[in-house]
């Protein structure tokens, strides 16, 4: 499936603004701001200056929260975003619910308690983000994430993403396959299944263990022989 750009010239805009470069500027801006994010449940709240807010918008991290402030913007980061900004990009300090600094291990344990299947969801999120795909929640499509090749204002998402492990198998019955594939196709996306190769005995993996797990990418598509034959006839 080819990328579906939302406007004329948007592919060129994306080309001229590689996501990897914007993320580097985001990291620098975070470090310069020195502001921490405050943990709240499995999410975190962050108050950004206007430049940092602009970069967060361009890289699609967090959900902006409208307030009356004109020179600051509040953002709410999801659990995967919080941990990614803190542990992978190493640019965001997190304060625990007690207002004190929280280290990676404690933050990891905290997130595992608060969000079911967090380790594997984070592994999948991090896998796609590290390839510079924009990753957003996908619950409205019956999946874990949707993945965009650039900013959602420029291009439609190409993939609905499901995260699978032996401990957390999905698509266990045929009605699951049919419904997810149909919904995905109905919104013009491909269903991407990310299988994480984790030991099935380990339901509570450590960060170090998870770093070593590999991810297998598979596309599940419905094949319609009638369409395929029509396409074949057109090519002849």
């Amino acid at each position: 499936m080819e990328p579906r750009w939302k406007g004329k010239g948007f592919a060129d805009i994306a080309n001229d603004n590689p996501m990897s470069e914007i993320i580097k500027r985001l990291q620098i801006s975070f470090i310069q701001s020195k502001e921490p994010a405050q943990l709240s449940g499995c999410e975190s709240l962050f108050e950004a200056g206007l430049d940092l807010a602009d970069l967060l918008g361009r890289t699609c991290f967090g959900q902006p929260i409208t307030t009356s402030s004109k020179d600051k913007q509040w953002f709410q980061f999801g659990p995967e975003e919080t941990f990614y900004l803190s542990y992978i990009l190493k640019c965001l300090k997190i304060l625990g619910e007690d207002g004190q600094d929280i280290n990676f291990e404690n933050l990891w344990d905290h997130m595992k308690l608060k969000r079911e299947n967090f380790p594997f969801l984070f592994k999948a999120y991090s896998h796609l983000r590290s390839k510079n795909w924009i990753v957003r929640p996908g619950l409205q499509y019956g999946v874990d994430y949707v993945a965009y090749r650039h900013h959602p204002a420029l291009v439609h998402s190409e993939y609905s993403v499901l995260v699978v492990t032996k401990n957390h198998p999905r698509l266990k019955v045929w009605s699951d396959w049919q419904s997810v594939v149909r919904v995905t196709g109905g919104v013009a996306k491909n269903l991407l299944v990310l299988s994480i190769d984790a030991n099935h005995h380990d339901m509570n993996p450590s960060l170090q263990y998870l770093d070593k797990c590999t991810i297998d990418e598979r596309l599940i598509t419905r094949w319609v022989p009638e369409h395929s034959r029509a396409e074949n006839n057109r090519q002849k």
Partner: protein
Amino acid sequence: MNSWENEEEEEQHQNPFLNTTKEMRFLKLVGTKTWEWERSWKRRVEFGGTLESSEMVADFTVSLRKFSLLVMDGPDGKVLTLSDIHSKVAEKKNGCSWEYFKAYRRLKCLGYIVGRHDVAWSSKSSSNSNQEDGKTIMDCFKDMGISDDMKVKKKLVFDMYLPDSRFKKTCPGMPVFVLCLIRGSPPSKEEIEKLEEESNGVPLKLCHVDNWLVSFFSFDKVELPHLP
């Protein structure tokens, strides 16, 4: 919506509120073949054309739906009903099932060339009628290589070729994909990987049959690009 989209998307219903007469279609009688069914029954099937035995057996199932007349006689001259035939095939204890036929029929009707997986084309067909006399219908199914061990839940069954008037059984080439019939629950990643090993590099498609719905899926390995 195109007719084939209708075929694929929805269960088809005749409209009972409209007064239409059902068109009867009859097979042109040009020849007969005889099979034994469970050795104690004899059936005479009347058909048209010069089909090879394996194709005759498959088209036999097509004709059950498309043609309103298929004359089958028992040893006592009793004409068998569709229900009699259906129950014999659906019994499954003789090594065949409607699932195979439904998948086969869907693809064959579209012109795809369907071969038995891992069986050379030269052993599939026999136009020698003397060899077929006395064969049970289940022997014919088994000759097609679609004998069905009901304990096997995931099985490579058909080698598929695109419709091609130049297709030669003596030199079929590589199939475009191998069809795997899945029974029971959907396959795990590990089961799919095992099936992929068995297909020797030919792309795999999965088929699941549930009532009237024949569904096909691909489960292809990909690698998303690292974006700039």
